[in-house]
Subunit: 152 residues, 2 copies
DNA sequence: CAATACAGTACTTATTTAGTCCTGTTTATA
DNA sequence: TATAAACAGGACTAAATAAGTACTGTATTG
């Protein structure tokens, strides 16, 4: 159905929550509480985001995660790449991990490149900050206290 | 991994094959032969494309399918919509079939709309004819005889 | 009326994704 | 320096989705 994986969706929710506290670290259990998402899943997503250098981790007691850059410099394409792998609509476009088994025979091989690039460009054009500002989340009411995000 | 479903990919391959014979009908078994794809799957895809009005069916003996419009007037977005449902990156964008369970609580609800529209626009901008011409398939060597498409 | 070909739907299997768990490493602080 | 907090990494299980198959029904040609 051509949709984002739930991981990516959750990832953005988590990042948005982190963006509300730009100056302090957020721990995985903390974020799970704030967003009402299951803790193990949150931990998994954060690890992937850290690996993709979207966020940076501070280890040890009093550690946690923080955004690697200001929200305006984090693109949606990066987030998707960190959580879902590279954008590759078909197996035969440049940058895809896997190979289509009939690529050598298929007359269309390579034809998807242009579309893939267009989609990637669209995703590259939107930052985390854009996403947040477009839905009223930058409203000062949000983020005032832990738990306000996804709870009522 | 943010990719097209195999159905959609196959669908485009089938449509390309049909586009090579604009003036005659192609039957499902015939297309299966030409593309080397499994016959039942081909039949399923063609039914979906017909339902989505990308191709038109002629029933009865000597029947078959043909493109509903010239290849230049069929967009990739239409093909995806016919085979995979509407483009809806998340459950909360306009036009999505399903509803996110936390939509009423999620601060990001609706924030994806802009991205979704951008992706849709990118897909709307490319026609079947573009796709074909970009990979050398319009080369007269292709389509000369049945079976040349995906066979060697 | 017999053969061909699409329409629709239900079902099974395969693949992918999501979710869980466990073990190891790093670091602040008492 | 011992302890607890917190991340890293990977293995495993369960759930959801997609793919593939099969069958019954309807329309059309000759
Ligand atoms: S080579 Fe052909 S069948 Fe394979 S992914 Fe590309 S377009 Fe699809
Ligand atoms: S409402 Fe929030 S969690 Fe649900 S699909 Fe939209 S962005 Fe994702």
């Amino acid at each position: 159905m051509f949709k984002l994986s739930r991981m990516t969706d959750y990832g953005v929710v988590l990042l948005s929550s982190m963006a509300q506290r730009p100056d302090c670290l957020s721990t995985a259990p903390d974020l799970a509480d704030r967003t009402m998402l299951p803790a193990p899943t949150v931990a998994k997503i954060l690890k992937a985001l850290a690996k993709g250098q979207v966020i940076v981790a501070t280890r040890g007691a009093q550690g946690g995660y923080s955004l690697a850059r200001p929200a305006a410099d984090i693109t949606v394409a990066e987030i998707i790449a960190a959580l879902d792998g590279p954008v590759a609509l078909t197996a035969c476009v440049d940058g895809s991990d896997d190979n289509c088994s009939v690529e050598r025979l298929c007359p269309l091989a390579g034809g998807w490149n242009r579309i893939n690039l267009a989609v990637k460009a669209a995703l590259d054009d939107v930052s985390l900050a854009d996403l947040i500002s477009e839905c009223g989340m930058s409203d000062p009411a949000f983020g005032a206290a832990p738990g306000i995000t996804l709870q009522q």
